[in-house]
């Protein structure tokens, strides 16, 4: 199978998956609260206001009719209007998604760096103190519930020691940058708003580290296993015999060849981080897509819930898709299809 056939095949499957996400989320949302007009309008709204909402969202129609109206607009990326946030859902996603992506990007870099180098370190010191220490660390972080890790970090590092700020995206007394890319840190950089830039970086550390802490373990494990295999390879033995420095052998030659499974895994890590960010964002008052989704869910804001679910689904599918394609590109031994 050629790479293009493979790509098209995967794209079609991804589309069907996204469609399934929309339908499933729509149905589940409506089972949860068939007529949320009263919740959206609140207890003090006049009957005419409630009727207007019912008409606008077709809430008096059968569910399949509502689904039809929704699908027609969703397929043109019009996710409707949020009755709770009072903005078009697509605009809300454009505001909140970049914040989460910024957080996840930093967390993934941290995860990758920590995971890869601890894995390589563990492989280098197989069955010695270094190996067991690394194993203990990632097992503890892996077992720890995400909220506990985040709360402990916040408590000690922010509240007790005061080293880093405990919450928010940046110092609220600083002027926020204009919306250019939507990534607050990058927008501050583009504008030359250095106080905000450094503040937002500082505020990113704890939540990103919390996310990384619960995710790096699997990278460490895979890297370690992969490294152990690589370290048994003939080219490594040859390098040893040629007198190449040990560190260079481990961290340059062997590590490079161990990265293939790690790349695949990073796509999965991205998926976990998207879901893990919901809790982390709430704990650190870092209002990104996770916060948007949680708040929308609590307020029966269907359009926003479905819009967020679609976006997250697309992100996860895309991440896996890219990983699959990269895997095939990086390793010519892999057969497609």
């Amino acid at each position: 199978m050629s790479i293009w056939t493979y790509v098209i095949n995967r794209a079609v499957r991804a589309f069907l998956l996204i469609l399934g996400i929309i339908v499933l989320t729509f149905i589940l949302s409506h089972v949860l609260a068939p007529n949320p007009a009263y919740v959206w309008a609140g207890p003090h709204a006049a009957p005419s206001v409630i009727q207007a909402i019912i008409r606008e969202y077709h809430l008096d129609q059968p569910i399949y009719v509502q689904l039809y109206y929704y699908l027609v607009s969703a397929l043109t990326f019009n996710f409707g209007f949020s009755p709770y946030f009072k903005q078009p859902v697509s605009e809300l996603i454009a505001i909140y998604l970049p914040r989460t992506l910024q957080l996840i990007f930093v967390a993934m870099v941290l995860t990758g760096l920590i995971g890869v180098f601890t894995g390589a370190f563990a492989a280098e010191h197989k069955d010695k103190w270094g190996d067991y220490t690394v194993k203990a660390l990632y097992l503890i972080s892996w077992c720890m519930p995400p909220f506990l890790a985040a709360l402990l970090l916040q408590l000690f590092i922010a509240y007790y020691w005061g080293v880093l700020p405990p919450n928010l995206m940046a110092d609220p007394t600083l002027a926020a940058p204009r919306y250019i890319t939507g990534f607050p840190t990058i927008d501050a950089l583009i504008e030359g708003n250095w106080p905000y830039f450094w503040s937002s970086l500082k505020h990113l550390i704890l939540p990103a580290f919390s996310l990384a802490l619960i995710s790096f373990g699997v990278i460490t494990r895979i890297t370690r296993s992969s490294m152990l295999t690589a370290l048994q390879a003939d080219y490594v033995r040859a390098a040893v015999m040629r007198g190449v420095e040990k560190g260079r052998i481990v961290y340059v030659h062997a590590l490079k060849n161990s990265m293939i499974p790690v790349i695949t895994l990073l796509a999965l890590v991205f998926s976990w981080m998207i879901s893990g960010s919901v809790i982390i964002e709430t704990i650190f008052s870092y209002n990104g897509l996770g916060w948007l989704l949680t708040t929308a869910l609590y307020n029966y804001d269907y359009p926003t819930v479905i819009g967020c679910s679609v976006v997250i689904g697309i992100a996860v599918v895309l991440a896996n898709f890219i990983a699959d394609v990269l895997y095939a590109v990086i390793d010519p031994r892999i057969k497609l299809g």
Partner: protein, 659 residues
């Protein structure tokens, strides 16, 4: 690469155990030992120790830490506490409540007004020289535009004008909320009589007028001056309101933000007006005449208000001004939002925030107040009993389903509650007992001076015994062993610590009289979803802990009528689904009675009936409270203003007295 060697498994196990134990000890330490807030510096060398609280680094900035980020600050859409607070400081109407008074008003954009004796006509004279922050002028046509816009958009704030400036029943049937007489006015101005019979045509034509609002257009002038409609522009600086029904409390509505002046030019430049639709730009952008303007909005995180540099009232001579027109002393207000109670406390105790908000519905329940009072740099302010309460708490009883459809059962329950204990342990001094459905301090509160229900478990037992219920008392006594046990379910919001505590205490109290109470925790939205069903639906809450407050300060209509009239059954206010013919007859006419004596009489009758029928257990009315820095002055509460009014606040650097 050869590797070898290893560590014994025993050693590894010991190391792992040591690490786990260290973590457990660390968590225990973290949980048991509270971090001390930044201590004020004490000078121990002097005979009298002094405490100095840290001043904010910038005294031209005040930070309020709040838990309700706004979603809309459009006076036609915004409704909730966090939104009210912003709109109150950015927009202005014709009048405003006079400082802490709920009965008197001061002129804001109006210079004076007259009220017809029959309360059907209100005439306002508009000040000259009022303008928006962008310099656009304000006159009578601005209010014609602004209020018609609110009605036509038919969002939650249109409710303020239902059956007063537009016909609510007609709007429900036709799908369009149109100010009364506006269609005829359009027909008159344009010569097209189709507007009087086609509501869709009329609504969109009116929207078109508002979206292309040109006060110099002759047709629009004819439209605005047409005499038989809700609002008539008599001349550029005189406005006449003609009400559908006589209404004594119309000034209370006009003092609220839905009656604010909104710049027509600004609106038309950004989306205009569409029937039944919100203007998304206006949801997050403001253009008012008020003392502040929104200069920064980070969704979900922060809103920054800056003093309006073009504030028209700053130029008023003292003889024409009043306290509510005072220009801001603190130039910048930062409203930060977080959902975490711990973060709110931390921000206050560290001095990073000087206020806790929103004011109308406090972010922290009273349970937190005692610990905050320990901090000498903070002031916990609880309004005294002389100040009218606004928010009150009750347990509603579903009067449409067995066994609570039996009046005697409800009467037994109201006497089974130890109100004083709930007041002491939950309200923590920020509450007072009351007899509903109006809250204490409000006009027409309990005109017959009925006493609050008393705690009398023996009476409760006697009543239930006489009804034949089987009661198993805590001491083992079984009353009516062959009877049917009485089991009830109490629904409450699980993320409100006050409601959780009340639920637990009520469960214990009812067990004392042999009633088994099952607790049903839900989220706020689940709660609203449950009570938006028909009253006889199986999942409609049997008993529900419920807050209520009036949308505007008409306690008769907004408290008494909506909580007791069957037309408002369910989420609209009458959560107990109380349906009494006599009460319905009285409350159908009550809102539009203009004779105070007659109103008092009717209210007394409704009170007597509901007191005897007991559809609700009145727990306590909340005395408004807030937490502020000791340096901040000028903070006050008025239930009609709904939020902090920042222009009157300032820092007094000597206010934190030595202790």
């Amino acid at each position: 690469m050869p590797y070898g060697g290893g560590v014994s498994r025993t050693v590894i196990a010991v190391i792992a155990i040591v690490i786990v134990v260290a973590i457990v000890i660390g968590i225990y330490y973290a949980l048991t030992i509270k971090p001390t807030p930044p201590k004020p510096v004490t000078n121990v060398t002097k005979l009298v120790t002094t405490v100095s609280c840290p001043l904010p680094s910038n005294t031209s900035v005040i930070i309020s830490i709040e838990n309700e980020p706004p979603n809309s600050v459009d006076p036609a859409v915004g409704f909730y506490a966090g939104e009210d607070e912003i709109m109150t400081n950015v927009y202005q109407g014709l009048i405003m409540f006079n400082y802490t008074s709920i009965n008197s008003f001061v002129p804001i954009i109006a210079s004076s007004w007259q009220v017809a004796p029959n309360y059907t006509v209100y005439i306002f004279n508009i000040r000259h020289g009022v303008y928006f922050a962008n310099g656009d002028p304000v006159n009578a046509t601005t209010f014609w535009f602004s209020i018609y816009r609110v009605i036509l958009m038919n969002q939650v704030d249109a409710s303020f004008f239902t059956n007063i400036l537009y016909n609510g029943t007609e709007a429900t049937i036709t799908g369009y909320a149109i100010p009364w007489g506006a269609c005829h006015a359009l027909a008159y101005a344009t010569g097209n009589s189709a507007y009087t019979s086609n509501y869709t045509l009329c609504a969109y034509a009116l929207a078109n007028v508002l979206s292309n609002f040109n006060v110099y257009n002759v047709t629009i002038q004819k439209l605005m001056s047409y005499p038989n409609q809700a609002i008539v522009v008599l001349d550029p600086y005189t406005l006449e309101f003609k009400l559908l029904n006589p209404y004594m409390f119309f000034l209370q509505i006009l003092a609220e933000y839905p009656a604010s002046a909104v710049d027509p030019v600004f609106v038309d430049q950004h989306g205009g007006v569409v029937p039944n639709q919100q203007n998304t730009y206006m949801n997050t952008h403001t253009m008012g005449t008020g003392p502040y303007q929104v200069v920064q909005w980070v969704p979900g995180q922060m809103v920054v208000l800056q003093a309006n540099p073009n504030y028209w009232a700053a130029k008023l001579p003292p003889s024409e001004s009043n306290i509510m027109l005072t220009p801001p002393k603190i130039k910048t207000v930062i409203l930060e939002y977080t959902s975490s109670a711990d973060q709110i406390i931390n921000m206050l105790e560290s001095g990073k925030a000087q206020l806790m908000g929103p004011l109308a519905i406090p972010a922290l329940p009273p349970l937190y107040l005692p610990s905050l009072e320990q901090n000498p740099c903070l002031r916990v302010v609880i309004e005294p009993p002389s100040v009218p309460t606004w928010l009150f708490l009750m347990i509603t009883l579903d009067t449409q389903k067995y066994p609570l459809n039996i009046t005697a059962v409800r009467v037994a329950l109201v006497h089974a509650i130890n109100y004083t204990e709930i007041l002491d342990t939950v309200a923590m001094g920020a509450g007072e007992l009351y007899v509903g459905p109006i809250s204490p301090g409000m006009p027409f509160y309990n005109p017959g001076n009925l006493p609050p229900y008393n705690y009398d478990p023996n009476l409760a037992i006697q009543i239930l015994k006489s009804l034949g219920f089987k009661l198993t008392l805590p001491n083992g006594t079984v009353i009516n062993p062959n009877g049917q046990p009485l089991s009830l379910t109490l629904t409450y919001v699980s993320d409100d610590p006050a409601q959780v505590k009340i639920a637990q205490e009520v469960q214990i109290m009812l067990s004392q009289i042999g009633v088994q109470l099952t607790l049903n925790p839900v989220t706020t939205q689940q709660e609203e979803n449950l009570i938006s069903q028909p009253c006889t639906a199986p999942s409609y809450p049997q008993m529900l802990i419920w807050y209520w407050y009036p949308s505007w300060l008409d306690p008769v209509y907004q408290d008494l009528v909506v909580q007791t009239n069957a037309m408002y059954s369910g989420i609209a206010g009458n959560v107990a689904c109380f349906n009494n013919t006599e009460v319905n007859d009285l409350t159908n006419v009550l809102p539009f009675i203009t004779n105070e004596t007659l109103m008092t009489q009717y209210v007394t009758e409704v009170y007597n009936i509901t007191y005897q029928q007991a559809p609700d257990i009145w727990l306590y009315a909340i005395r408004q409270y807030w937490v502020q820095s000791c340096y901040v002055q000028g903070v006050f509460w008025n239930p009609g203003i709904l939020g902090y009014y920042f222009p009157l606040m300032y820092y007094n650097t000597t206010a934190c007295s030595p202790s």
